[in-house]
Symmetry: C2
Subunit: 138 residues, 2 copies
DNA sequence: ATCCCTGCAAACTGTTTGCAAGGCC
DNA sequence: GGCCTTGCAAACAGTTTGCAGGGAT
Protein backbone atom coordinates (compact mmCIF):
# COMPACT_ATOMS: atom_id res chain seq x y z
CA UNK A 1 0.00 0.00 0.00
CA UNK A 2 2.17 2.72 -1.35
CA UNK A 3 0.18 5.82 -0.74
CA UNK A 4 3.13 7.86 -1.79
CA UNK A 5 2.41 7.28 -5.44
CA UNK A 6 -1.23 8.19 -4.89
CA UNK A 7 -0.18 11.45 -3.32
CA UNK A 8 2.39 12.10 -6.03
CA UNK A 9 -0.35 11.69 -8.58
CA UNK A 10 -2.72 13.87 -6.62
CA UNK A 11 -0.20 16.66 -6.37
CA UNK A 12 0.93 16.41 -9.93
CA UNK A 13 -2.60 16.42 -11.24
CA UNK A 14 -3.25 19.71 -9.52
CA UNK A 15 -0.06 21.27 -10.77
CA UNK A 16 1.89 21.02 -7.54
CA UNK A 17 5.32 19.46 -7.58
CA UNK A 18 5.52 16.45 -5.32
CA UNK A 19 8.26 17.56 -2.99
CA UNK A 20 9.40 15.68 0.11
CA UNK A 21 7.72 18.23 2.33
CA UNK A 22 4.39 18.14 0.58
CA UNK A 23 4.35 14.37 0.57
CA UNK A 24 4.94 14.27 4.31
CA UNK A 25 2.15 16.74 4.85
CA UNK A 26 -0.13 14.69 2.60
CA UNK A 27 0.61 11.58 4.60
CA UNK A 28 -0.13 13.31 7.80
CA UNK A 29 -3.33 14.90 6.61
CA UNK A 30 -4.91 12.44 4.25
CA UNK A 31 -3.74 9.05 5.44
CA UNK A 32 -6.37 8.76 8.13
CA UNK A 33 -9.90 7.58 8.49
CA UNK A 34 -11.33 10.36 10.58
CA UNK A 35 -11.37 14.00 9.71
CA UNK A 36 -8.69 16.10 11.22
CA UNK A 37 -9.04 19.62 12.56
CA UNK A 38 -5.88 21.58 13.01
CA UNK A 39 -4.04 24.85 12.96
CA UNK A 40 -0.83 25.34 11.03
CA UNK A 41 1.04 25.55 14.31
CA UNK A 42 -0.32 22.18 15.44
CA UNK A 43 0.54 20.64 12.14
CA UNK A 44 4.07 21.92 12.23
CA UNK A 45 4.66 20.40 15.68
CA UNK A 46 3.17 17.07 14.68
CA UNK A 47 5.28 16.96 11.54
CA UNK A 48 8.42 17.54 13.53
CA UNK A 49 7.52 14.75 15.91
CA UNK A 50 6.48 12.25 13.32
CA UNK A 51 9.27 12.73 10.84
CA UNK A 52 12.05 13.86 13.17
CA UNK A 53 12.95 16.49 10.68
CA UNK A 54 11.68 19.99 10.69
CA UNK A 55 9.77 21.48 7.83
CA UNK A 56 10.02 25.23 7.73
CA UNK A 57 6.96 26.94 9.11
CA UNK A 58 6.69 29.06 5.99
CA UNK A 59 6.58 25.92 3.90
CA UNK A 60 3.82 24.47 6.00
CA UNK A 61 1.84 27.67 5.55
CA UNK A 62 2.50 27.64 1.82
CA UNK A 63 1.45 24.04 1.49
CA UNK A 64 -1.70 24.41 3.53
CA UNK A 65 -2.71 27.40 1.49
CA UNK A 66 -2.11 25.58 -1.78
CA UNK A 67 -4.06 22.61 -0.52
CA UNK A 68 -6.89 24.85 0.48
CA UNK A 69 -6.87 26.55 -2.89
CA UNK A 70 -6.99 23.16 -4.59
CA UNK A 71 -9.95 22.19 -2.44
CA UNK A 72 -8.19 19.56 -0.35
CA UNK A 73 -8.80 21.46 2.85
CA UNK A 74 -11.48 23.71 4.25
CA UNK A 75 -11.11 26.61 6.58
CA UNK A 76 -13.44 26.54 9.56
CA UNK A 77 -15.30 29.65 10.71
CA UNK A 78 -14.65 29.97 14.39
CA UNK A 79 -13.66 32.81 16.66
CA UNK A 80 -10.13 32.25 17.42
CA UNK A 81 -6.83 33.96 17.19
CA UNK A 82 -5.75 30.99 15.09
CA UNK A 83 -7.07 29.68 11.80
CA UNK A 84 -8.46 26.16 11.81
CA UNK A 85 -8.49 23.80 8.87
CA UNK A 86 -10.47 20.66 8.24
CA UNK A 87 -9.59 17.66 6.11
CA UNK A 88 -13.29 17.07 5.59
CA UNK A 89 -14.10 19.28 2.65
CA UNK A 90 -17.72 18.24 2.28
CA UNK A 91 -20.52 20.53 3.36
CA UNK A 92 -20.87 19.93 7.05
CA UNK A 93 -21.04 21.68 10.37
CA UNK A 94 -19.26 21.62 13.70
CA UNK A 95 -19.61 21.34 17.40
CA UNK A 96 -17.12 23.44 19.28
CA UNK A 97 -16.64 22.25 22.81
CA UNK A 98 -15.88 25.50 24.59
CA UNK A 99 -14.67 23.61 27.66
CA UNK A 100 -11.94 21.71 25.88
CA UNK A 101 -11.72 23.81 22.71
CA UNK A 102 -12.25 20.67 20.68
CA UNK A 103 -13.93 20.63 17.29
CA UNK A 104 -16.25 17.77 16.38
CA UNK A 105 -17.78 17.13 12.97
CA UNK A 106 -21.51 17.22 12.67
CA UNK A 107 -22.53 15.42 9.58
CA UNK A 108 -25.46 16.35 7.48
CA UNK A 109 -27.86 13.92 9.06
CA UNK A 110 -27.13 15.41 12.50
CA UNK A 111 -28.56 18.77 11.54
CA UNK A 112 -31.93 19.43 10.05
CA UNK A 113 -31.58 21.35 6.86
CA UNK A 114 -31.02 25.03 7.41
CA UNK A 115 -33.21 27.21 5.22
CA UNK A 116 -32.49 30.83 4.69
CA UNK A 117 -35.61 32.74 3.85
CA UNK A 118 -34.16 36.17 3.38
CA UNK A 119 -32.70 37.00 0.00
CA UNK A 120 -30.37 39.79 -0.96
CA UNK A 121 -30.79 41.10 -4.50
CA UNK A 122 -27.82 40.43 -6.75
CA UNK A 123 -26.25 38.03 -4.29
CA UNK A 124 -26.29 34.28 -4.08
CA UNK A 125 -25.51 31.95 -1.24
CA UNK A 126 -22.06 30.49 -1.37
CA UNK A 127 -22.07 28.42 1.78
CA UNK A 128 -23.86 27.93 5.05
CA UNK A 129 -21.85 27.13 8.13
CA UNK A 130 -23.32 26.22 11.46
CA UNK A 131 -21.23 26.33 14.61
CA UNK A 132 -22.80 24.75 17.66
CA UNK A 133 -21.01 25.66 20.84
CA UNK A 134 -21.34 23.10 23.58
CA UNK A 135 -20.23 23.05 27.19
CA UNK A 136 -20.30 20.70 30.15
CA UNK A 137 -23.58 19.88 31.80
CA UNK A 138 -23.50 20.74 35.43
CA UNK B 1 -32.40 63.53 25.47
CA UNK B 2 -29.41 63.16 27.66
CA UNK B 3 -28.24 59.69 26.94
CA UNK B 4 -25.16 60.35 28.95
CA UNK B 5 -26.98 59.78 32.18
CA UNK B 6 -28.47 56.59 30.82
CA UNK B 7 -25.02 55.35 29.97
CA UNK B 8 -23.63 56.45 33.30
CA UNK B 9 -26.32 54.42 34.98
CA UNK B 10 -25.73 51.47 32.72
CA UNK B 11 -22.04 51.46 33.45
CA UNK B 12 -22.42 52.01 37.16
CA UNK B 13 -24.99 49.29 37.48
CA UNK B 14 -22.57 46.81 36.04
CA UNK B 15 -19.73 47.91 38.25
CA UNK B 16 -17.86 49.90 35.64
CA UNK B 17 -16.84 53.42 36.43
CA UNK B 18 -18.28 55.89 33.95
CA UNK B 19 -15.13 57.40 32.56
CA UNK B 20 -14.99 59.84 29.68
CA UNK B 21 -13.60 57.18 27.40
CA UNK B 22 -16.23 54.61 28.20
CA UNK B 23 -19.01 57.12 27.75
CA UNK B 24 -17.74 58.05 24.32
CA UNK B 25 -17.57 54.43 23.35
CA UNK B 26 -21.09 53.89 24.69
CA UNK B 27 -22.39 56.76 22.60
CA UNK B 28 -20.76 55.44 19.52
CA UNK B 29 -21.93 51.89 20.01
CA UNK B 30 -25.34 52.13 21.60
CA UNK B 31 -26.77 55.40 20.34
CA UNK B 32 -27.94 53.99 17.05
CA UNK B 33 -30.94 52.26 15.64
CA UNK B 34 -29.28 49.60 13.57
CA UNK B 35 -26.89 47.01 14.82
CA UNK B 36 -23.27 47.72 14.33
CA UNK B 37 -20.57 45.25 13.36
CA UNK B 38 -17.02 46.29 13.98
CA UNK B 39 -13.48 45.42 14.87
CA UNK B 40 -11.59 47.19 17.62
CA UNK B 41 -9.41 48.80 14.99
CA UNK B 42 -12.43 50.22 13.17
CA UNK B 43 -13.86 51.49 16.38
CA UNK B 44 -10.67 53.21 17.37
CA UNK B 45 -10.52 55.06 14.04
CA UNK B 46 -14.15 56.12 14.23
CA UNK B 47 -13.70 57.36 17.78
CA UNK B 48 -10.77 59.48 16.75
CA UNK B 49 -12.76 61.00 13.91
CA UNK B 50 -15.91 61.61 15.83
CA UNK B 51 -14.44 63.04 19.00
CA UNK B 52 -11.25 64.57 17.61
CA UNK B 53 -9.41 63.15 20.56
CA UNK B 54 -7.66 59.87 20.58
CA UNK B 55 -8.52 57.12 23.01
CA UNK B 56 -5.64 54.78 23.59
CA UNK B 57 -6.00 51.56 21.67
CA UNK B 58 -5.41 49.57 24.83
CA UNK B 59 -8.32 51.36 26.46
CA UNK B 60 -10.59 50.57 23.56
CA UNK B 61 -9.61 46.93 23.84
CA UNK B 62 -10.19 46.97 27.57
CA UNK B 63 -13.56 48.60 27.21
CA UNK B 64 -14.76 46.30 24.48
CA UNK B 65 -13.76 43.31 26.52
CA UNK B 66 -15.54 44.60 29.59
CA UNK B 67 -18.64 45.32 27.53
CA UNK B 68 -18.50 41.86 26.08
CA UNK B 69 -18.13 40.33 29.52
CA UNK B 70 -21.13 42.31 30.72
CA UNK B 71 -23.14 41.07 27.77
CA UNK B 72 -23.43 44.39 25.94
CA UNK B 73 -21.60 43.05 22.93
CA UNK B 74 -21.29 39.74 21.15
CA UNK B 75 -18.33 38.34 19.35
CA UNK B 76 -19.09 37.03 15.87
CA UNK B 77 -17.70 33.71 14.65
CA UNK B 78 -16.08 34.41 11.36
CA UNK B 79 -12.76 33.47 9.83
CA UNK B 80 -10.73 36.53 9.90
CA UNK B 81 -7.48 37.76 11.18
CA UNK B 82 -9.51 40.31 13.12
CA UNK B 83 -12.17 39.82 15.75
CA UNK B 84 -15.62 41.17 14.97
CA UNK B 85 -18.12 42.40 17.52
CA UNK B 86 -21.83 43.00 17.25
CA UNK B 87 -24.02 45.42 19.18
CA UNK B 88 -26.93 43.06 18.62
CA UNK B 89 -26.59 40.62 21.50
CA UNK B 90 -29.72 38.64 20.79
CA UNK B 91 -29.56 35.18 19.27
CA UNK B 92 -29.26 35.78 15.59
CA UNK B 93 -27.23 34.86 12.57
CA UNK B 94 -25.28 36.58 9.83
CA UNK B 95 -24.74 36.93 6.17
CA UNK B 96 -21.16 37.55 5.26
CA UNK B 97 -20.77 39.11 1.87
CA UNK B 98 -17.47 37.69 0.73
CA UNK B 99 -17.27 40.19 -2.10
CA UNK B 100 -17.39 43.25 0.09
CA UNK B 101 -16.55 41.64 3.42
CA UNK B 102 -19.70 43.15 4.85
CA UNK B 103 -21.69 41.55 7.65
CA UNK B 104 -25.48 41.67 7.61
CA UNK B 105 -27.81 40.60 10.38
CA UNK B 106 -30.20 37.79 9.72
CA UNK B 107 -32.95 37.91 12.19
CA UNK B 108 -34.69 34.91 13.54
CA UNK B 109 -37.54 34.99 11.11
CA UNK B 110 -35.10 34.90 8.20
CA UNK B 111 -33.83 31.48 9.12
CA UNK B 112 -35.89 28.40 9.72
CA UNK B 113 -35.10 26.99 13.11
CA UNK B 114 -31.93 25.00 13.18
CA UNK B 115 -32.31 21.67 14.93
CA UNK B 116 -29.37 19.69 16.06
CA UNK B 117 -30.17 16.03 16.27
CA UNK B 118 -26.88 14.69 17.50
CA UNK B 119 -26.23 14.79 21.24
CA UNK B 120 -22.97 14.51 23.07
CA UNK B 121 -23.21 12.89 26.51
CA UNK B 122 -22.40 15.23 29.35
CA UNK B 123 -22.54 18.29 27.14
CA UNK B 124 -25.22 20.82 26.51
CA UNK B 125 -25.67 23.30 23.72
CA UNK B 126 -24.57 26.78 24.57
CA UNK B 127 -25.27 28.52 21.30
CA UNK B 128 -25.90 27.95 17.64
CA UNK B 129 -24.39 30.32 15.13
CA UNK B 130 -25.09 30.26 11.45
CA UNK B 131 -22.86 32.06 9.00
CA UNK B 132 -24.21 32.35 5.48
CA UNK B 133 -21.59 33.40 3.00
CA UNK B 134 -22.93 35.22 -0.01
CA UNK B 135 -21.33 36.47 -3.18
CA UNK B 136 -22.29 38.34 -6.31
CA UNK B 137 -24.54 36.70 -8.85
CA UNK B 138 -22.93 36.56 -12.20
C1' DA C 1 -7.15 57.62 50.28
C1' DT C 2 -8.22 53.85 47.75
C1' DC C 3 -8.84 51.37 43.98
C1' DC C 4 -9.93 51.48 39.24
C1' DC C 5 -8.79 53.08 34.71
C1' DT C 6 -5.99 55.11 31.06
C1' DG C 7 -2.15 55.62 27.99
C1' DC C 8 2.04 54.38 26.22
C1' DA C 9 5.38 51.31 24.76
C1' DA C 10 7.08 46.94 24.67
C1' DA C 11 6.02 42.23 24.15
C1' DC C 12 3.66 38.49 21.99
C1' DT C 13 1.31 35.44 18.62
C1' DG C 14 -0.06 34.01 14.35
C1' DT C 15 0.86 34.83 9.71
C1' DT C 16 3.16 36.73 5.53
C1' DT C 17 6.99 38.18 2.70
C1' DG C 18 11.65 38.71 0.37
C1' DC C 19 15.22 36.50 -1.18
C1' DA C 20 19.01 33.24 -1.76
C1' DA C 21 19.85 28.37 -2.16
C1' DG C 22 18.09 23.90 -3.49
C1' DG C 23 15.17 20.47 -5.95
C1' DC C 24 12.03 18.88 -9.61
C1' DC C 25 11.08 18.39 -14.53
C1' DG D 1 18.51 25.14 -17.51
C1' DG D 2 14.37 26.99 -16.03
C1' DC D 3 11.04 27.37 -12.92
C1' DC D 4 8.94 26.10 -8.68
C1' DT D 5 9.70 25.34 -3.83
C1' DT D 6 12.06 25.62 0.51
C1' DG D 7 14.02 27.76 4.52
C1' DC D 8 15.28 31.40 7.18
C1' DA D 9 14.82 35.77 9.08
C1' DA D 10 12.70 39.91 9.04
C1' DA D 11 8.41 42.21 8.74
C1' DC D 12 3.67 42.60 9.88
C1' DA D 13 -1.05 42.92 12.08
C1' DG D 14 -3.87 42.36 15.75
C1' DT D 15 -3.95 41.90 20.47
C1' DT D 16 -2.21 41.78 25.28
C1' DT D 17 0.57 43.25 29.15
C1' DG D 18 3.29 46.03 32.65
C1' DC D 19 3.56 49.92 34.79
C1' DA D 20 3.36 54.80 36.06
C1' DG D 21 0.31 58.54 36.34
C1' DG D 22 -4.58 60.23 36.55
C1' DG D 23 -9.42 59.97 37.79
C1' DA D 24 -13.66 58.24 40.10
C1' DT D 25 -15.76 57.22 44.54
Amino acid sequence: MDNNSIFIEKLRSSGLRPTKQRLKICKLLFQRKETFHFTVGDLSKILKHKFKEKISLATVYNTIHSFKKKGYLKEIAINSDKTYFDTNTSDHHHFLDVTTNELIDLDDKDVKKVSIIKKIPGKKIKSIEVLVKIENNN
